[in-house]
């Protein structure tokens, strides 16, 4: 079975973003970029399925600028077999990404698609579900455990209040939650080997998908700043402040 994994190039999760002074967007100039943390978990899960003999090939796909090749190379160093970059410098919204991925799936025919549950830049949490709708596949979102048996996959999902397990008929789409696994680090020899693995570049035109805007970003602002607080010196003072000043207890 072929497994398809998607990875997104995003701002490194440790970077504190700044809003541009003209409020047009956040400032991404000279900011460290990295693979979205949930995508790392997706790559890890796919590689583990291959190591377990469940998956025969792991194909990794990214959509975005030329520079997203770096994230594909990282995924290849982690164990993916080959990469596909759908290159576009335009702003690709979730629905467009899902449409492009649906075309890639049509060409590749994977048994399982593993994606992150959300990207930490837009925080949308949409693409996996949209792709599932467009391909008519079932979806196992927010997965903390994935078990493949025959043509079914059992997915344990993190839901409000606990865990839920569903069984999906493959081909299926799984989106990863944080506790699915602990991603490995790429070793230097594997990083070197990854440079020779195949990486194919396509464009939205090649895939026959028009990039259409469904939303318009009007402005981006910093969130309201909290008033500076005070440090109390004792529990007694804290209780007094909460009772008499903040009046919350």
């Amino acid at each position: 079975m072929k497994v398809l994994v998607t990875v997104k190039r995003v701002i490194d999760y440790n970077v504190k973003v700044r809003v541009k002074s003209d409020n047009s967007d956040v400032d991404l100039n000279n900011v460290k970029m990295a693979m979205n943390p949930f995508c790392e978990i997706a790559v890890e899960e796919a590689v583990r399925l291959k190591e377990a003999g469940v998956a025969s090939e792991v194909v990794v796909v990214s959509l975005g600028p030329q520079a997203a090749q770096e994230q594909l190379r990282t995924a290849l160093a982690l164990g993916a077999d080959r990469g596909i970059l759908v290159q576009s410098d335009e702003n690709l919204e979730s629905l467009t990404v899902a449409k492009l991925l649906a075309k890639v799936i049509g060409e590749e025919q994977p048994g399982l698609v593993i994606m992150g549950k959300q990207a930490i830049d837009t925080d949308n949490n949409q693409t996996g579900q949209m792709l599932a709708a467009l391909t008519g596949m079932p979806q196992g979102t927010f997965a903390s455990e994935v078990k493949v048996s025959g043509d079914k996959v059992q997915v344990t999902r993190e839901v409000d209040g606990g865990l839920q397990t569903v069984e999906l008929t493959m081909p299926a789409i799984v989106t990863t939650d944080l506790r699915l696994n602990e991603p490995r680090y790429a070793s230097l020899p594997n990083i070197m080997k990854a440079k020779r693995k195949p990486l194919e570049t396509k464009t939205p035109e090649d895939l026959g998908v028009a990039v259409k805007a469904h939303t318009q970003l009007l402005k981006v602002e910093p969130p309201a700043q909290r008033q500076a607080g005070i440090k109390v010196t004792s529990v007694e003072e804290l209780v007094d402040k909460l009772k008499n000043e903040a009046k919350v207890i």
Binding site: A133, Q139, G229, K241, V248
Partner: protein
């Protein structure tokens, strides 16, 4: 112009998050209808009918919708949705699972985690873990939206008298089945609805020490939360996690104990009215958002605080 709200429920009771979505819908304007899709869920429809501001309840009561699997319910919502200008749901795990599937079936975008309604087509939502607020205009004919509960007050659960209309359409995609669930049991208030939350982080040391927070929480009528570090260390179950990837909360009082205050945690709680931090590291970033900070060993401070309440 009319809005369809997808009710969040467990076939027994209407979940509180739905009431916040009702408020958002009334701010958008126009008629507000609510869809209750489930099995044996007449009671939920009755409860939804008495919510203030709702004019019609659509009840789709069928075994195919029992566990509200997205594969089945999305087909129903996409069919009904074409009659509406807005289709909204709370941004809970159920809403996040279902709504993008609905949006794609309708060939429209989805606006996730909306915190403010500016007009019928313009909304605000946080991006980059809440470090920026984007104002976004939808260009689609049907606006599919999930609502962040902490951005809107809850609508009154009583006072309405909507008509209940049965929906007979049955959609069973036949590609997914419910196997089972394991729900964490708690007598304390639900995390996302609690007015006081006591949260613990890695500094708690182990799961047993959370008993300190539970005792404090019981005195305050509070819910108990946790940082990702505490969940990953196995101290507490993951549904207690507050943060970008866990629950978003905004209680009147949030007490962070042994939590350093990483960006991802702050994303889940920085809209709380009053934040208290108890941490022995005076450089911890949590102190930059705390209204009241106490630099102390939590194992001394928490029992003392408990004793003084």
């Amino acid at each position: 112009m009319a809005t369809l709200i997808i009710a969040e429920h467990d076939n027994q009771s209407l979940k509180g998050a739905t009431l916040n979505a009702v408020t958002a819908a009334t701010q958008i304007g126009g008629d507000v209808h609510i869809l209750v899709a489930g099995a044996g869920c007449q009671g939920v429809a009755d409860a939804a009918a008495s919510v203030a501001g709702i004019s019609k309840v659509l009840l789709a009561d069928n075994a195919a919708y029992e566990h509200q699997l997205a594969e089945n319910v999305s087909l129903l919502v996409a069919e009904l949705g074409t009659d509406y200008s807005h289709v909204i749901a709370p941004a809970t795990t159920a809403g996040k699972n279902l709504m993008p599937r609905v949006a794609a079936l309708l060939d429209v975008a989805q606006l996730s985690d909306v915190i403010r309604v500016d007009s019928e087509d313009t909304f605000a939502r946080p991006i980059y873990a809440g470090n920026a607020i984007a104002t976004v205009k939808s260009l689609d004919a049907i606006k599919v939206i999930t609502i962040r509960g902490t951005g809107f007050d809850a609508a009154a659960a009583e006072g309405g008298s909507a008509v209940i209309e049965a929906v007979t359409a049955v959609h069973d995609a036949g590609i997914s089945t419910f196997v089972g669930e394991e729900m964490a049991k708690s007598d304390r208030p639900e995390l996302t609805a609690a007015s006081v939350i006591v949260s613990g982080g890695r500094g708690m040391g182990n799961g047993e020490n959370f008993a300190l927070l539970e005792s404090l929480a019981d005195k305050l009528g509070a819910a108990v939360g946790a940082s990702r570090a505490a969940v990953d260390a196995g101290f507490v179950p993951n549904d207690m996690q507050v943060g970008q990837t866990g629950k978003i909360v905004a209680p009147d009082l949030y007490i962070a104990v042994g939590i350093s205050g990483a960006i991802q945690h702050l994303a889940g709680m920085k809209d709380s009215k009053v934040i208290v931090a108890i941490n022995k590291d005076e450089e911890a970033p949590i102190f930059s958002v705390a209204d009241y900070g106490l630099v102390a060993d939590l194992f001394d401070a928490v029992p003392e605080l408990d004793g003084k309440l």
